[in-house]
Symmetry: C2
Subunit: 228 residues, 2 copies
DNA sequence: GCAATAGTGTCTATCAGACAGTATTCG
DNA sequence: CGAATACTGTCTGATAGACACTATTGC
């Protein structure tokens, strides 16, 4: 007789996975990318990319997060990290529910390949979202801001190669504060988190000196023992 | 027909809450407090304090964590914080499962009021645990060590009132490294996280000067913008 | 050469670690 | 008074911020 006999099958909560996707707008800074609820509850409302966990086809909640980003945002190979899990009787009108929440970061340029119809809002003026997604988005933003200063997290909002002024700008956008230029360069160089790309970014429109291109030395998120 | 098939096609995963409880042993430092599985799977094996989430009676997963600590460890009013959520088809032999994991901290003295029969193991030599609880315990330890240096977290391993040498010792135990005495005192004082208790701890056994007693100024966890 | 941005060098203030020195208790 | 631990003061080295300075491009 299998162990499963003892498993309680009544009274299990709804289990969903919800992903708060962020990008960096060239002008307006950090922004959230949202889908639209296509059915009740909250039909028509902007929402995180979410859906039911599918035991059987999903290998883990993280797999589900990637699947949902592919299905609902049209994006594959995006940086995803677990945020935390929200739960309770009232957060979903369909019943007692658990949401395993994730945040994800995508470079602005990659939105061209995303599903059409996504909404992008600067994080300062987000619309009201479905369910308790406002709360999840706020928690994701807080985590982003907290983790940015001691990790390579903000770099995942940039394309694979980037210049130091671009890297500094994205740290400033996520941290919400200006950084000292020479100190930033010094620390980033001392921490050896970057690899030089043998190429420079030529002057774009205006008149300026082209900047050295770099890429992350490690493909994964790296945490520092100090601050940028 | 095996029950597992029904479980997985039924569409909702098993949802449990598991709590890794830590304490501070007077001699051996940081230790984990474990229960014993009283039924299959893993009957007789040491395990975190865990059980099924109970929608209907639990108001949230955090409520469930407190309930499980009360039921299985006999402890109420313990510091509890969400760690992260583990999931997958193989982590529980009963089927595809989600575990919302928490860590909890209790002063050693309070174990006197706990349920008898709990096992306490220094974190350096933990036995093999049921399910994937080893992995959860390792993640909890990593989080503890990471968060200790910029928060009041370690203080929740001490009784309500404590001396500065005791506070320094618990930071050292959790961080696994020695701290500079005068720098520690300076920083703790500058951060104003402590309130003086108008009392001193008299010499216990040996010969020594009694130390000033303090308590946390805030009842909740406080995070710093620097390191201790 | 000028404008504009990229990148460097250096001074200084701040903060953490080292450690000597003082304080307070018990026996 | 000596031993032991609690606590303080001060020196020094490391690090971050400020900011002036140099470098490299387009026009």
């Amino acid at each position: 007789m299998p162990h499963t006999a003892a498993v309680e099958t009544e009274g299990r909560p709804i289990v969903t996975v919800d992903v708060a996707l962020f990008t960096l707008l060239p002008e307006e800074g950090l922004a959230i990318v949202l889908g639209t609820r296509d059915r009740d509850p909250f039909a028509g409302r902007p929402a995180l990319f979410g859906g039911f966990l599918r035991p059987g086809s999903d290998g883990s909640a993280t797999d589900a997060a990637h699947r949902l980003l592919a299905e609902k945002a049209g994006l594959a190979d995006v940086f995803v990290e677990q945020l935390m899990t929200f739960s309770g009787p009232d957060r979903d009108p369909r019943g007692w529910s658990v949401s395993i929440a994730y945040y994800a970061l995508v470079p602005f340029g990659r939105l061209a390949e995303a599903r059409p119809g996504l909404a992008v809002w600067p994080v300062g003026r987000m619309p009201p979202l479905a369910f308790d997604h406002d709360r999840i988005a706020a928690a994701a933003l807080a985590r982003l801001g907290g983790k940015a200063s001691y990790s390579t997290l903000p770099a995942f909002l940039l394309p694979k190669t980037f210049t130091l002024p671009e890297l500094k700008a994205v740290y400033e956008a996520v941290l919400g504060t200006a950084l000292n230029d020479s100190a930033f360069r010094r620390k980033v160089m001392e921490m050896r988190i970057l690899e030089e790309v043998p190429e420079k970014r030529g002057a774009t429109a205006g008149v300026r000196r082209p900047a050295q291109l770099w890429r992350l030395a490690a493909d994964r998120l790296v945490e520092f023992d100090r601050t940028v």
